[in-house]
């Protein structure tokens, strides 16, 4: 046995260090389907508690939509449970091709390739299309999965200050001698809920002959007038060279992701992207579910319109109550508490009031920028938001932070 006491101690010490630092992640067990209201067992062994969920990526409320569930059942009946093969051996069904076609139409691109997750799409895309002669210039706050994908690629790396177009232009000039320049950004940034300036980025990329990659995981299905994503909101549909996105958030919330964009780039992924080549793709029932999701969203904008109204109301109500919010206009509404312990205590008290939200603090967000990140859904009804608001106000009063400035909150809590 190679797992000696000495080796075991190395790992148990690491886990203990995380626990001592208060950053050990603990799962809460949900006994119901994902929805606006869920039944949670927390801590393990505690009786089930019905809470309002304001921390899911279930933006469009499609995770448990009856039509989506029915379509997944039918997919299971007609196409089976799994493929037991990667795509290029015997793991491609008609519905995989149908989904790729529908995603292409929905996003307004040239072609699409499915991946087991968007994490995999981001891990595979760079290495498949770039080499040592090229450069990747990424926003400094891009998602961890993009960072991992960049690390796996041999092209040169550089970064620009978050959303700073003048700095991006400097970098494009600095790397003008490179064969291919690829600018990399999130569409919507998941921690702050702000949107990339894709119109300005497209203009810069055209000026300096660079390609643009956007991870639109927190936008696909609901950002833009018809929910196509950040490129629709910014008026640049058809001008983004690569969009990566997930089916694990707004688009049904199950799993899977894709690379969608210029047809040659998609073909390169099909030939060379390792997570595509060496892993099964999305399982048939999930594929059938996502096809239904895209059908629903292509017929009506009702759900994204409701989400937009809900998010606007929520943002306005919290502001009027005296909370400090991270500015933005997406369903990601971060309530700024600045101090890590305050964010943690606030989330604990919310849970006691029947509201499920999570405190985020360093190292997930910068020091001094701790927050409760709330995420609004089309599944939320007015009574959910009203109850959540009442809980936020009650706890805000308890900690005496309503109407206070950032410096006042910091003075009250961070100095302690």
């Amino acid at each position: 046995m190679a797992y000696s006491d000495k080796v075991r101690a190395i790992y148990s010490d690491q886990v203990k260090a995380l626990q001592d630092a208060g950053i050990l992640k603990i799962e809460r067990y949900i006994h119901s389907a994902q929805d606006a209201e869920i039944e949670v067992e927390f801590p393990p062994g505690a009786p089930l508690k019905k809470v309002i969920n304001v921390c899911a990526n279930n933006y469009l409320g499609l995770s448990s939509h009856p039509e989506v569930v029915k379509a997944a059942h039918e997919g299971l009946d007609t196409h089976g449970y799994g493929m037991s093969s990667v795509r290029f051996i015997c793991g491609t069904q008609d519905i995989h091709k149908e989904l790729e076609k529908k995603v292409t139409e929905f996003l307004g691109t040239e072609d699409t390739i499915l991946f087991p997750s968007c994490m995999d799409a981001n891990a595979g895309v760079f290495e498949a299309i770039l080499n040592e002669q090229d450069v990747m210039i990424s926003d400094r706050l891009v998602h961890a999965s993009l960072i991992d994908g960049i690390r796996l690629c041999k092209a040169m790396t550089d970064s620009f200050k978050h959303s700073d177009m003048a700095h991006l232009e400097e970098k494009l000039q600095l790397h003008s001698d490179k064969r291919i320049k690829l600018v990399i950004t999130d569409g919507v940034y998941s921690m702050d809920g702000d949107t990339a300036k894709l119109d300005e980025m497209v203009a810069l990329c055209e000026k300096y002959d660079a390609m643009l990659l956007v991870d639109d995981s927190h936008a696909s299905g609901f950002i833009g007038k018809t929910g196509r994503g950040t490129h629709e909101k910014c008026g640049v549909v058809g001008k983004i060279d690569i969009i990566t996105t997930t089916f694990g958030k707004g688009l049904g919330g199950a799993s899977g992701g894709c690379v969608s964009g210029r047809k040659e780039l998609v073909e390169m992924c099909r030939q060379k992207a390792r997570p595509y080549l060496f892993s099964n793709t999305i399982a048939p029932p999930v594929v059938a579910g996502v096809i239904k999701v895209l059908d629903i969203l292509s017929k009506t904008t009702e759900r994204r319109d409701k989400l937009e109204r809900n998010a606007d109301r929520w943002r306005k109500a919290l502001t009027e109550a005296g909370f400090i919010l991270q500015p933005g206009d997406t369903p990601i509404v971060p309530v700024m508490l600045f101090d890590a312990k305050l964010a943690n205590d606030f989330a604990r008290d919310l849970y006691a009031e029947g509201i499920y939200a999570i405190g985020f603090f360093f190292p997930v967000v910068p020091q001094g920028k701790a927050r409760i990140r709330t995420q609004i859904s089309a599944a939320h009804e007015m009574h959910h938001l009203e109850k959540a608001l009442a809980a936020f106000i009650k706890i805000g009063k308890k900690y005496d932070i309503l109407g206070k400035t950032k410096n006042e909150v910091m003075a009250m809590y961070s100095a302690k």
Binding site: R140, S159, K161, L174, P366
Partner: protein, 82 residues
């Protein structure tokens, strides 16, 4: 020596320290201290090569060699003298 040190320090402050309250010195650990991410090191390398008309081979431009202003100056001088 003085001139290179201050040019590099100015560049690092402008490029990486805009949102930081901390003050850095010639000896502050830039990469291992978390001020400069390894992705951005390349622009610092390219800046030095352009400014001082030198070529820094990849095996010399390591995160360790770039970890403080003083270390960067030592590296640049090594190639200026060649």
């Amino acid at each position: 020596m003085e001139e290179i040190r201050d040019v590099v320090l100015d560049y690092v402050i402008k490029e990486y320290m805009e949102d930081q309250d901390d003050e850095i010195t010639y000896d502050t650990a830039l990469i291992s201290g978390g001020y400069v991410d390894s992705f951005s090191m390349v622009s610092l390398k390219r800046f030095l090569e352009t400014r001082y008309k030198i070529s820094l081979p990849d095996d010399k431009a390591t995160p360790e060699a770039f970890d403080s202003v003083n270390k960067i100056v030592t590296l640049v001088q090594e190639f200026l003298n060649k």
